[in-house]
Amino acid sequence: MKFEGISLGLKEFEKEIKVEWKGKLEYEWDCGIALSKFMEGLKHGKILARKCYACGRIMIPPRMFCERCFRPTDEWIELGDEGEILTFSVSFVNWDASRRKKPEIPAVIRLLGTSENMGILHKLGEVGDTLEEVLKNVKIGMKVKAVWKKEKEREGAITDILYFKPIKRRK
């Protein structure tokens, strides 16, 4: 059997006849009903979840309908800004595949007061600058607390929380 395909090396690829195009579109997305309220809350240092009376789940990200029960959700609940780490990673790569010396530490964090597995994606900070340090300082199940931007710098965005940091227990 003969399999077709001409595989180009990087050098050959650079010499190829090519056409280039750069898309120059921008998007502005309305945050909608649930997330507009959530973002407004962030501006004031509050984290808001939404409760469904049918399944009892307290959900974050908040949503105006419960995708499990497929009915409208019922109530806003204000959460604290402490949570636990469900999982984390130590990333040395940027989106364009370039490398970074100091890692980023994305994590899925369940805020206390929400239902089981109700995590959100955010980042961890103050846990070290090398893989070894981070692995020493971070454990799944560990309690963390939000570190906020200064109030006047907040704009109603997820980045109003700079990162989450471990809660130091008193010895």
Partner: protein, 390 residues
């Protein structure tokens, strides 16, 4: 009652980091090869299904329509299958119901991906799968979801990095025997080699990740009476299943892919399979990352939760196993390459070749009457499953 559906021919291009051919040209070559094996002319094809993943890779709006000429779809009923990484296997499911329904007798299923055009790196195209309100502002990249899921899976079952690395060792070795394997991907590696490679997003090491690939794959499927008229040894599609979970991916416990289980149960029920561990003889689970093969084997109910890594250590998933189930005998995405949609269909083709006894050096040692291919995609979200039999 659905009519029975058979596979009559398959085609693949080489897997390449940078192909000279356009996506249309790649699709044409794979489609032509599949038609040749089926001994059919394009005029005998009733309808066409095409899988191709994000439009953003090509920078072409609705690229399924743009590529359709390369899939032989001109003036035919045509549909694009698209569930991200799950698309390759979803395409044969899609083709199956067009024929099983009795609407058509023949269908050409083509899968194509050309990732190398996207600059500076196709990984950038994947940023747009994250939630634009709450996730993208954090400066996401694709590797995050995999490394987060792998960490959770390892934590819940206490799996070591060494064990996960064994998946790369197995698949990169198997890939050495695949005639289409991408240059520099397959090879003889040790666990130490894998763990000496760069940490890109811990716990993911570079040699636990499948590469960027350009390639195409195609198969021809027909109804039972067309198949019996044309061949004495058709390979049958016995069961199909697919399932999409919520896009609130951080609201699920990532250690287990429930949506893969539901897709598998649908396919097992359709195929009349009661005990998949006895009745599935060879399997091609989706392995874009090393841990994902194990994760998917558990979702497919071929191992208890947390047991797939232990079976791996015992050689249960090896190609030459006598009493296990060979997994990714092709070499998979880690050993052959990962042209997203075409990778899934490559897995279906591997099961087809294994059942025909035409997998050459990759032919598994044990007797095979039935096999399964599975793909996965979107935001840790979709499972697609197909079961083939002699």
């Amino acid at each position: 009652m659905a009519q029975k559906v058979a596979i009559l021919g398959a085609g693949l291009t080489k897997f390449m980091r940078r192909a000279k051919e356009t996506g249309k040209e790649l699709a044409f070559e794979a489609a032509r090869m599949a038609l040749e094996e089926a001994n059919m002319d394009i005029s005998e094809i009733d309808c066409v299904v095409m899988a191709t993943a994000p439009d953003m890779f090509d920078g072409v709006h609705m690229k399924g329509d743009w590529l359709s000429d390369g899939a032989g779809a001109k003036r035919k009923p045509y549909m694009r299958s698209y569930v991200g990484g799950g698309s390759g296997v979803f395409a044969i499911i899609h083709g199956w119901y067009l024929v099983a329904s009795g609407l058509f007798d023949t269908c050409l299923v083509v899968a194509e991906e050309k990732m190398s055009s996207c600059m500076p790196h196709p990984q950038g195209a994947f940023n747009a799968i994250y939630d634009q309100f709450l996730e993208r502002p954090l400066g996401v990249n694709l590797l995050w979801i995999f490394s987060l899921e792998m960490m959770r899976y390892m934590h819940v079952h206490k799996i070591s990095l060494e064990t996960i690395a064994l998946v790369s060792v197995k698949n990169k070795r198997n890939g050495l025997d695949h005639p289409c394997t991408q240059k520099g991907i397959a090879g003889e590696y040790t666990v130490k080699d894998i763990l000496n490679s760069e940490v890109i997003a811990y716990p993911v090491y570079r040699l636990m990740v499948s590469p960027v690939t350009d390639a195409a794959a195609a198969i021809v499927i027909t109804s039972e009476h067309e198949a019996k008229r044309r061949t004495d040894n058709p390979i049958w599609i016995e069961g199909v299943g697919w399932c999409l979970d919520t896009s609130y991916w951080t609201n699920r416990d990532l250690y287990y892919p429930k949506y893969v289980e539901y897709a598998a149960r649908m396919a097992y029920d359709m195929a009349g399979i009661k005990d998949p561990r006895k009745e599935i003889h060879v399997v091609e689970p989706y392995d874009p990352f090393a841990y994902k093969e194990l994760h998917h084997l558990e979702g497919l109910l071929l191992a208890d939760k947390g047991e797939a890594p232990k079976l791996l250590e015992k050689g249960f998933w090896d190609r030459d196993t006598k009493d296990g189930i060979p997994s990714c005998p092709s070499g998979g995405l880690l050993g052959v390459g990962n042209p997203i949609a075409a990778a899934g269909l490559m897995k279906v083709i591997e099961i087809y070749l294994q059942l025909k006894g035409e997998a050459g050096k990759r032919q598994v040692k044990r007797e095979v009457k039935r096999g399964l291919a599975q793909a996965w995609g979107d935001l840790m979200q979709v499972g697609t499953v197909v079961i083939l039999s002699k």
